[in-house]
């Protein structure tokens, strides 16, 4: 199973709710736990000042991206790493092909990386005849199921423990009543052999410090450390928005990201990668390739309003609190990044038409922006994309006409009163069949009942 794009959001969401209602239960429970941990972790720090700081550093870095990218390239090159620039996903995959060919790569282990999902790395490697194994437990599970991730941090968040029991029983021979520890142990054993056999490790990068050319990676399982240090070649795909000026900044971001994502003070493992193994070192890869990926990011950066979404550190906090995301998990969104952040970067990165209707997949409740560690004004950006969609004629004509007519009415109090009175006398259940807006309402709810008299009529008659 792979993503086919966001345009089927409504159908996919409805299908998940109808056919696999247990997904809603799993996702709601897991995201509520994540969020409870975030709340506790934020209470332990001066979260408001940390968020101001994080917003400012990221804003500064994005405003000076060209200079910091060049500095990062210089530093990485001086450290002995190979730096590549990839404008598109195809460019990034071509660079990967080259590495595979140059080194005769047969087997790959992958650290969890959303960018690699965005680029379609696994499918590409399989096409080259290269064995590829996801090593993050959640990613491993969904790879066995041939599913894409449904959450930025917890890719298997839509599955229950029982789903995993059945899967591991079938694939790894664990008992059907195995405890989670036993399941993790079985995955660990299976993965250990893969780590030892792999000649290429692939990772993303949470942050890239320009001053020292440091790719920073945060994780809990140790699989990223193994993937980036055990195989003889390491390829790190890093989105260009991951730049921060200094290694010192990374220390703050690692903590704020962990606190926002899982409520931990910091990840169990932090890897700071500056280049390949040096002559006096005993471990690490012989070659490190850092691929700086654009793939739509400069297009998003050029948007006067939506560029703020590029501050995102991919903590998943906005998904965790989002009441829309919680109903379905990420698969309904039809591409790699789901939830509120997915809805505001999709139009910039995929194109607005391809991203429809994601900017509308929000009640604008605003919970997301309250938990964003880099203060992305998510509802504002959603409205911004809605405005672009309306301008480009990507919304239904009935909606445009309806809103224009309503606007006229709202400026003519007499007509507004007439319309109010008509609405009182129209059987809405029947009218709903003709009007899409009402129809959508009535499909899931009883038709609203008008008051016997409008308030303005009551007022004229006098209120006791």
């Amino acid at each position: 199973m792979s993503f086919t794009g966001p345009t089927k959001y409504r159908e996919e969401a409805a299908k998940i709710l109808r056919e696999t209602p247990e997904v809603r239960t799993s996702v709601t429970a897991a995201t509520r736990t994540f969020d409870a941990h975030r709340i506790r972790a934020w209470e332990q720090i001066d979260a408001e000042s940390w968020r101001d700081w994080a917003r400012d550093v990221k804003t500064h870095a994005l405003g000076n991206l060209d200079a910091y990218l060049e500095q990062a390239e210089e530093q990485l090159t001086a450290n002995g790493a190979h730096v590549h620039w990839a404008e598109t996903a195809d460019d990034a995959l071509a660079i990967l092909s080259e590495v595979v060919r140059d080194h005769g790569i047969e087997s790959t282990v992958k650290a969890k990386s959303m960018l690699s999902e965005e680029l379609g790395v696994n499918k590409h490697l399989e096409g080259l005849g290269v064995h590829v194994r996801e090593t993050d437990l959640g990613e491993y599970i969904i790879q066995l199921l041939d599913q894409p991730p449904s959450h930025i941090v917890g890719p298997a968040i839509h599955l229950s423990v029982d789903d995993c029991r059945r899967l591991f029983h079938e694939k790894l021979g664990t008992p059907l009543d195995a405890e989670p520890d036993e399941l993790a142990g079985a995955a660990r054993d299976a993965l250990r052999a893969e780590f030892l056999a792999a000649d290429l490790g692939i990772s993303g990068g949470n942050f890239l410090a320009a001053d020292s050319g440091t790719v920073a990676l945060i994780e809990n399982e140790g699989n990223i450390r193994l993937s980036t240090s055990l195989p003889r070649v390491h390829v790190a795909f890093v989105g260009i928005e991951k730049l921060v000026p200094r290694l010192e900044d990374v220390s703050g971001f690692l903590q704020l990201t962990a606190r926002s994502a899982t409520g931990q003070p910091i990840g169990n493992f932090v890897s700071l990668i500056q280049g390949p193994r040096k002559s006096d070192e005993v471990d690490g890869p012989e070659e490190v390739h850092v691929v700086l990926v654009d793939n739509g990011r400069t297009k998003l950066l050029a948007d006067d309003v939506a560029w703020e979404a590029l501050r995102c550190v991919r903590c998943g906090a906005c998904l965790n609190i989002c009441p829309v995301y919680r109903q379905t998990g990420g698969h309904a969104y039809g591409w790699t990044y789901s939830g509120p952040i997915g809805a505001i970067i999709a139009p910039g990165m995929l194109g607005l038409e391809e991203a429809m209707p994601l900017p509308f997949a929000s009640s604008l409740c605003g919970a997301c922006t309250d938990v964003c560690p880099v203060r992305i004004p998510i509802p504002e950006l959603l409205v911004h994309w809605r405005e672009q969609a309306a301008r480009q004629g990507l919304t239904p004509a009935t909606e445009t006409l309806g809103l224009k007519a309503y606007t006229k009415l709202a400026q003519s109090p007499e007509l507004f009163a007439v319309a109010n009175s008509m609405l009182r006398h129209v059987p809405l259940e029947l009218a709903g069949r003709a009007l899409p807006v009402l129809n959508g309402w009535i499909q899931e709810r009883a038709a609203p009942t008008s008051s016997k008299k409008s308030f303005l009529e009551m007022w004229k008659e006098g209120i006791e």
Partner: protein
């Protein structure tokens, strides 16, 4: 003190009695109430749909209707939030007047608590178990959280713990009609987690339409009462 009540489009059409209760409440606490003619809709439906031109037309109309108001009070956190948070930027032809209006605009419970400092209205809700749904815009745009709770408690109600109290009901204006399945699932989450109560209340007609409409479709659910009516019961019962 004189208050101009803005009933809002949904209030005027679907919660007329609650708007009348808002008038009664305000008079009860010693305020003169007027209801300016010509009031219609704050423009939020267009604003949220990404139609700033239409939203601006409606907002400008409302700004003129309430130009002379000492205070504007709404039985809706969402519409009050629209005026307070978005009018200034939207009405670029007269940001000064828009800002002045924003500064004089309050949601009902916010006005009772913060401006009038009302704490006890009566004892009519004594022994009643009540769930309070925090409308998102009251909560997040206006920062109204304790005000309705303390007013209900002040009338003797027991406002129960409810794990989903601050979660969105799934209304979201056009969202509820464009993506009805997800919207309904959001309402279900609210309804399914409700403790045993006598009634549910909220400051927003939109949320109440969504939750009561969904409950009616499912043929199960508590009574739904607008906050203005709940508080008026506190005074009179």
């Amino acid at each position: 003190m004189r208050v101009s009540l803005f009933a809002t489009c949904l209030g005027n059409q679907f919660y007329a009695e609650a708007c009348a209760d808002a008038v009664r409440l305000l008079r009860h606490v010693g305020v003169d109430v007027d209801v300016p003619e010509g009031q219609t809709c704050c423009g939020q439906p267009a604003h949220n749909a990404g139609r700033p031109d239409e939203a601006r037309s409606m907002a400008t109309h409302i700004m003129h209707v309430f130009a002379d108001a000492e205070y504007v009070v709404l039985p809706s956190g969402s519409c009050a939030g629209m005026i307070r948070s978005f009018y200034r930027e939207l009405i670029d032809s007269d940001p000064g007047q828009a800002e002045s209006l924003a500064g004089r605009t309050y949601e009902l419970s916010q006005f009772l608590r913060r401006v009038l400092n009302v704490d006890s209205l009566g004892t009519g809700l004594r022994g009643r178990r009540v769930a309070y749904h925090h409308g998102c815009h009251a909560l997040r745009e206006l920062g109204v959280k304790d005000e309705p709770i303390s007013l209900l408690a002040g009338c003797g109600a027991e406002v129960v713990e409810w794990e989903a109290a601050e979660e969105c009901c799934g209304f979201g204006g056009l969202f509820s009609a464009k993506l009805p399945e997800v919207s309904a699932a959001m309402a279900d989450r609210k309804l399914d987690t409700l403790p045993d109560i006598d009634f549910m209340t909220s400051s927003d007609g939109g949320c109440l339409l969504q939750l009561s409409g969904r409950a009616a479709k499912r043929r199960t659910g508590p009574p739904f009462v607008h906050l203005a009516s709940a508080l008026w019961r506190g005074v009179t019962e």
